[in-house]
Amino acid sequence: MKQRTLAVVSAGLSQPSSTRLLADRLAAATRGELERLGVSVDTNFVEVRDHAHDIMNNLLTGFPSAALRQAIDAVTNADGLIVVTPIFNASYSGLFKSFFDVLDDSALVGRPVLLAATGGSARHSLALEHAVRPMFSYLRALSVPTSVYAAPEDWAGAPGDAQASGALADRIRRAAAELAELVERHEPTKAADPFALTTTFEELLGGS
């Protein structure tokens, strides 16, 4: 059986948070799709709030604490990512952005990513396309075509009124299937070692 790892980055600020709720549903759906494809999945959750101080310290000192290092390794070593941010001021939250700012800029090259967000109104949903997707394009990650946005009404649907929540469930399923397909084909990831010597001194001398 194929083995793959997923990292789920959730940047909600409250606890419990709707951002984490969405992250959980996306993770479960992706796991289901991967299992259907005969892939066994190891999932690591990174609750960005838990690392808020360490992320700021990393921005200021240039290195992560041991706990943040673990979270970074979980993300940079994963075969696929699910990233979920609350939308603030028409964009990702500052904390979400800061987490990705402390990764090496080549850490996510070619990595399948499912983009998702939550917000106080459906009017903010395109922030996923205008803010979150360009950031992951810049990082040269492989963002899946379907992004998932959840507004309050998506959670509010009463059992009889499945229109809104049903639409969310469909989107989750579609996005999870897209991610699973990419992750299944993706060769397991090994993060680059920044301390590895990748050249010889003769080459360095010759190149100058």
Binding site: P194, L197, T200, L204, S208
Partner: protein, 375 residues
């Protein structure tokens, strides 16, 4: 001599956060020389100064400062805690440091670094994106200028040389010892290993794992290039300490300087930073214990430099730190490190040992290799 102990300074002009007063550039420069003389007085081996070309730092001209200190001292080894191999002309480095070496009767070595401040490069006609390439090319030229009488040379970054002789030639025909410093560029560890030079790990602002990886790579490549076994490679470490007799007093007094320090101020707490990096704030005994522990992850090493004079600490306080280093810390470290050092590990090179090694090499090309072990 065994291991060398000393101090290195960045030369920052930082307001004292406890009262808001900042020294003038003149006061800071004079404080640095006072600190250097004190280092000799308390029995330390090395004083090293940084090189910077942007405020709030004052030491733009290390050989001028070290020349002044050389005239006032007799035993102290004078070094740099970065000579910018990227933006300085290697020809001027060859000449300036050879001149200093003559004036100081050989008490000179230098530590090469690239500098990490983007704007400094264009001020000297360079580009930070060429940092590694500049370090490689410039040092290969510097290395020849100190070893060949007449040099013809052509490279990418500097005007070619035709029949050039760097003057003065190094004292006794033996160039100053060179350390290469880098936080996380494996190419620089490789460079140090290739030439059989020393490798210095800053070891202050980053976790010990960085130092461990870089030193490990350097040692392995040192052996690969045939300069000796990995544990014979020449390693120097930085360290940052603040001491009072009682560790609580040290923490209380140092905290405002830590909290407002350039580089890490307003970030992690003193406690977090002390856990994540080699910073030690406490009693002299704590400094001794922590420093002895460095050996566990870099192996036996040759030089330990402490940063004691930054972040706006008053001169008087810095001099008290030097008293404690000289009286309580370094004598114990010398003894303890010597007692646990593996046999066959060389001392840090000095001018005398390098002259001796050069003479041995010239006179006994086919005879038994000299088994010199220390002085």
């Amino acid at each position: 001599m065994g291991m060398q102990f000393g101090i290195f300074t960045v030369g920052d002009v930082t307001p004292d956060p406890t009262n808001g007063t900042a020294p003038s550039e003149h006061e800071r420069i004079k404080a640095m020389t006072t600190i250097a003389l004190k280092a000799e007085e308390v029995g330390l081996d090395v004083f090293a100064t940084g090189e910077h070309h942007n405020p709030p730092f004052v030491p733009s001209s290390p050989t001028t400062m070290l020349g002044w200190i050389a005239a006032k001292t007799s035993k102290l080894l004078l070094s740099t805690a970065t000579t910018l191999i990227t933006t300085n002309d290697p020809v001027k480095i060859a000449e300036d440091y050879a001149m200093l070496q003559h004036l100081a009767d050989g008490r000179v070595d230098l530590m090469l670094g690239r500098g990490n401040t983007g704007p400094v490069y264009p001020w000297f006609g360079q580009d930070i994106r060429n940092g590694i390439a500049l370090a490689i090319e410039n040092y290969s030229l510097l290395h020849r200028l100190w070893r060949e009488d007449v040099v013809d040379w052509k490279g990418k970054f500097r005007t070619p040389l035709q029949a050039f002789t760097s003057t003065p030639a190094p004292l006794d025909g033996v160039p100053p010892f060179v350390w290469h410093g880098s936080i996380r560029s494996p190419e620089i560890a490789e460079q140090a290993a290739y030439y059989g030079d020393g490798f210095f790990a800053n070891h202050i602002f980053w976790p010990k794992e960085h130092t461990q990886r870089m030193v490990g790579l350097y040692r392995q490549r040192f052996e690969h290039y045939g300069h000796g076994s990995a544990d014979q490679a020449i390693v120097g470490l930085g360290g940052q300490v603040f001491m009072r007799k009682n560790s609580q007093d040290a923490v209380k007094e140092f905290r405002p300087y830590f909290d407002n320090a350039p580089v890490y101020g307003h970030g992690p707490s003193l406690e977090e930073f002390s856990a994540e990096t080699p910073l030690t704030v406490g009693s002299p005994q704590q400094v001794i214990d922590r420093t002895l522990g460095f050996r566990e992850y870099v192996g036996d090493y040759q030089r330990q430099l402490f940063l004691v004079d930054h972040a706006g600490l008053p001169l008087k306080t810095v001099l008290e730190q030097l008293d404690m280093l000289g009286e309580e810390v370094v004598p114990v470290l010398r003894k303890e490190f010597a007692a646990i050092r593996k046999p066959g590990v060389p001392d840090a090179p000095t001018h005398a040992s390098l002259v001796e090694a050069a003479a041995a090499k010239n006179s006994t090309v086919e005879a038994v290799p000299a088994g010199k072990d220390g002085q």
